[in-house]
């Protein structure tokens, strides 16, 4: 009886927690980017960042925490613009340290002028930026977002 109860309690804890593993990095190219920005079943929140970008690193935990509380409705996708050679030395250690469990892609293509318009015509190339897409709506934020800003932006899509 006791065991059963303990099991029950453990079950509650585990299902409530975000028990996804820490993210690993998947490198993509321009085609992968094109696919990523297409609408999916859930609302996609796509954030462009890099480990060396201070305002990006500052806002990333908000994105992760909001992403994990809207798991059912939102696909949180982080696209790192770090160099491929830094995946194991900088990017993955960062994900581990910050306990990032959302999808992490990495786009290391120096010809940014070719792929910036895929994301948004109004993007001047500064990071961080965030794109939110659903089947019938698209919104591009050419700025860093506070946690409240982000939550408000996502709620407009739900």
């Amino acid at each position: 009886m006791n065991k059963l109860l303990t099991l029950f309690v453990l079950l509650i804890i585990c299902t409530a927690c975000d028990n996804r593993p820490i993210a690993t990095v998947t490198a993509i190219g321009q085609d992968g980017l094109r696919e990523t920005v297409l609408p999916g079943d859930k609302v996609k929140v796509i954030n462009f960042w890099a480990t060396w970008c201070a305002p990006c690193v500052e806002e990333l935990p908000y994105f992760e925490s909001i992403g994990s509380s809207y798991l059912e409705d939102v696909d949180m996708i982080f696209i790192s613009l770090d160099e491929k050679k830094n995946i194991q030395t900088a990017v993955e250690p960062f994900l581990k340290k910050k306990e990032i469990k959302s999808t992490v892609l990495l786009l290391d293509d120096p010809y940014a002028a070719e792929w910036i318009p895929i994301v948004d015509q109004h993007w001047d190339g500064a990071i961080p930026v965030t794109l939110i897409v659903s089947k019938n709506k698209k919104q591009f934020y050419n700025k860093a977002l506070s946690k409240a800003d982000l939550e408000k932006a996502i709620k407009e899509f739900l």
Partner: protein, 232 residues
Amino acid sequence: MKTLKILTVAVVGAIAIAVVSGMLDTHERTNLFAERPVPNQNKKQTPVKEKATVLKGYHIGDAATDFSLINIDGEKVSLKNYDDAKGFMVIFTCNHCPYSVAYEDRIIALDKKYKNLGYPVIAINPNNPDEYPSDSFDAMKVRAKQKGFTFPYLVDAGQKIYPQYGATKTPHVFLLKKEGDQNIVKYIGAIDDNYHDENAVKNNYLEDALQSLIRGEKIAVTTSTAIGCRIK
């Protein structure tokens, strides 16, 4: 005894549920913690307001503002003091940004080559050193010496100039040409299209624009985009 055990488990369970539901309840917690104090908030508020009205920045053909900014040697630099110049490569750049660092050698080469043809580089660091400590005035002096900068490296003290130009990131280039007593914006954007590898560049945007200006021809590509570090 058994009742006690069951009770204990029930209490533990209740605590666990309370903790978990607390963890889940992220929606109302935005103001749970004190706001992080912002240094020099009073100083910062004025430029933020100004930005809102002038954030659009320059377009091709606009007359760019002159400035009087402190160089790393302590002297003030203004465009009007360059009597012999035909124009300027005004480049917003900084120490901390890897894209800026990747372009340092190319900026030096451009300055050496085009200064003699009338188009010197004027580098301006637009960042607030409170946001990026490695962009401080002292750090700028160190970096300029290490790399042997051949051009002025100015501080946008109070961050009044970059919003007028409409610079948003580093590096961000504004190519100006003197016309009468004005400096007209001829090209805005990147230095070229490959920060990573100079030998793999497909489009030499800035140099092509300079060449066109010198030959008196129309500039084919007047704007370009590239990834950079957001100015803060």
